[in-house]
């Protein structure tokens, strides 16, 4: 089956081969699952106040900057917490504990899992890149990918110099949550700006090159055991669909063409879209330690 596909030139449109080979659902599975995840996390925050008045238990309180799970477990954004520390203010233990819990969580799940499965900005930048694809906008000159680490450094140095958590004025990541949960909709202009940047100025400009939150989660994820791996790299027929869809496409080449099939680059957001769009079933989620296929519940349902 895959033999015939291999010969076929795949010039008849993006991911058509995958949809034909795997069916529409399987060719969009991870996209659907992570959208569901993004919406569910948000919905948990949004409906918690109502559940609280009805059942007296807060599921999730706060927003992505800092929150409380079941009213006891603190969770907080490591970047925001680091910024507070850099101003010289020693926060309550719960903030630091929350940051450690979140950092550990993503160190296990994969750092940028936050980006593709939780972060609300991801929906905006994915929309921009989808429109870009639909409208056939040309690929623009690339900014250096490591710009985000410079920005991360800047975000952490500014509090030392100014005593203010400067980045939190413009950080787009909490904006959507704040807008919807606390009615602070006027911050949405930042998301609009990012959308326009990604759409018309530079492809994947924000998440792929600039966002310091993504950069920090990338660093946290360096130790993660969960990775995407090009297990069947030999079957790759160079259709380039994964390159088209991948938000961090520089991570793909070493896996497909290099010695080691595992995508160890921490820039990978583990979105699983490369698994979705590949008719040749080249990619899989894998455990770095024993290289066993991770039995993802969703995959078992198939």
């Amino acid at each position: 089956m895959s033999q015939t596909l291999k010969q076929k030139p795949t010039t008849h449109g993006f991911a058509k081969a995958a949809i034909k080979e795997l069916g529409w659902w399987r060719a969009h599975k991870f996209l659907f699952l992570r959208r569901l995840c993004q919406v569910c996390v948000f919905a948990l925050f949004a409906i918690s106040p109502f559940i609280a008045t009805w059942a007296g238990v807060w599921l999730l309180k706060g927003n992505l900057s800092a929150s409380e799970l079941f009213g006891v477990v603190p969770l907080s954004d490591p970047l925001a917490s680091l910024q507070v520390l850099m101003t010289g203010h020693l926060p309550e233990l719960s903030l630091l504990l929350g940051a450690v819990i979140i950092a550990l969580l993503y160190a296990v799940l994969g750092g940028r899992v936050f980006c593709s499965w939780v972060c609300p900005v991801n929906m905006v930048t994915d929309l921009a890149s989808w429109l870009r694809r639909k409208m056939n906008l040309p690929r623009t000159t690339e900014m250096p990918r490591n710009l985000r680490y410079y920005l991360l450094a800047l975000v952490l140095i500014l509090p030392v110099l100014t005593g203010l958590t400067v980045w939190e004025w413009v950080n787009p990541v909490p904006v959507l949550y704040r807008a919807a949960l606390f009615g602070a909709g006027s911050g949405l202009w930042i998301l609009a700006a990012i959308f326009l940047l990604d759409m018309f100025i530079s492809e994947r400009a924000w998440c792929g090159h600039l966002c310091p939150t993504g950069a920090l989660f990338g660093l946290i994820g360096k130790v993660s055991p969960v990775k995407v791996s090009a297990v069947n790299a030999k079957d790759c027929d160079n259709c380039m669909d994964c390159f088209v869809i991948c938000p961090e496409r520089q991570v793909l080449k070493p896996a497909l063409k290099g010695k080691q099939p595992m995508i160890t680059d921490s820039d990978c957001t583990q979105c699983g879209r490369c698994i979705d769009v590949c008719a040749q079933r080249v990619f899989q989620f894998q455990n770095r330690k024993n290289q066993n296929r991770i039995a993802l519940k969703a995959e078992n349902n198939q």
């Binding site: 106040p49 807060w58 309180k61 706060g62 927003n63 900057s65 800092a66 929150s67 409380e68 603190p74 907080s76 954004d77 925001a80 917490s81 507070v84 101003t87 010289g88 203010h89 020693l90 926060p91 309550e92 719960s94 903030l95 929350g98 250096p144 710009l147 410079y150 920005l151 450094a153 800047l154 140095i157 500014l158 509090p159 110099l161 100014t162 005593g163 203010l164 958590t165 400067v166 980045w167 939190e168 004025w169 413009v170 909490p174 704040r178 949960l181 606390f182 009615g183 602070a184 909709g185 006027s186 911050g187 202009w189």
Partner: protein
């Protein structure tokens, strides 16, 4: 072999030069960006110097360095007093504040907003709400305050949770009628918590009494001003003199 080395070296030189150039560019860009961001942050924190913070809030600068803008205090407040600031409105974006005229602080005994704050920007050492200093009420307009007109409005006085302590009525002869008394509301800045209940209930269209942030409401003695001490010293001397 030497040529290989040469080219290798040359390539390295170019790389290093490129690297330096890129780093310089990036550093400049980040420097500019940093200045821009700082300007935005400084500007908008100065934009609304009248923001009244929740109980226990650190001084404005420290508050802005500590608050992560999570809204946990907002969700903890049972009276919907607190709001997270929107852009260019009320307070620096995302930080909690309240507008006393709309919804004052009800001064909850257990201070849930402070307990909820994970960053400590609301100081957890505040355990008695009567010690809080969200601001200081100031009778800003003696002209329109009804009590100053000789009427017995008193609503600000009567609504104050610390009645006769944070706010008192000072009886004064009414020179206008000649034989009535005037009761003038007077705020005691040592006791006033800044809850804003007085501002909330003031019957005027624009309240004559307003809660201002402490750093605006209160004056401050310069460190070289010694007359207060002089007074003390004089008293001391007099006392000593009497002792002898």
């Amino acid at each position: 072999m030497s040529t290989v080395n040469q080219s290798k070296f040359a390539a390295k030189g170019v790389n290093r030069r490129q690297f330096l150039a890129t780093s310089a560019k990036a550093t400049c860009a980040m420097g500019l960006l940093g200045m821009g961001l700082t300007a935005v942050a400084k500007q908008s924190s100065q934009l609304d110097p009248l923001a009244i913070r929740p109980p226990g809030a650190l001084s404005e600068d420290d508050f802005l360095s500590a608050c992560v803008r999570c809204g946990l205090c907002v969700e903890a407040c049972p009276y919907d007093t607190l709001k997270l600031a929107r852009w260019f409105e009320g307070a620096p974006t995302g930080t909690p504040y309240f507008t006393a005229r709309n919804t004052p602080c009800e001064m909850c005994e257990d201070i849930p907003c402070v307990k909820a704050c994970p960053s400590g920007s609301l100081n957890h050492e505040l355990t008695d709400i009567d010690d809080s200093k969200m601001g200081i009420a100031v009778l800003t307009d003696e002209k329109n305050c009804l009590n100053f007109k000789g009427l017995r409005c008193d609503v600000c006085y009567r609504v104050c949770p610390l009645i006769d302590d944070a706010i008192t009525l000072e009886m004064q002869h009414n020179a206008r009628s000649g034989h009535h008394a005037m009761f003038l509301p007077k705020v005691n800045s040592d006791s006033c918590t800044g809850c804003g209940k007085c501002e909330h209930v003031c019957v005027l269209e624009e309240p004559a009494i307003k809660v201002l942030p402490t750093h605006i409401a209160l004056g401050k003695t310069a460190s070289h001003d010694t007359y207060i001490n002089t007074e003390e010293t004089t008293l001391e001397m007099l006392n000593k003199g009497l002792e002898l």
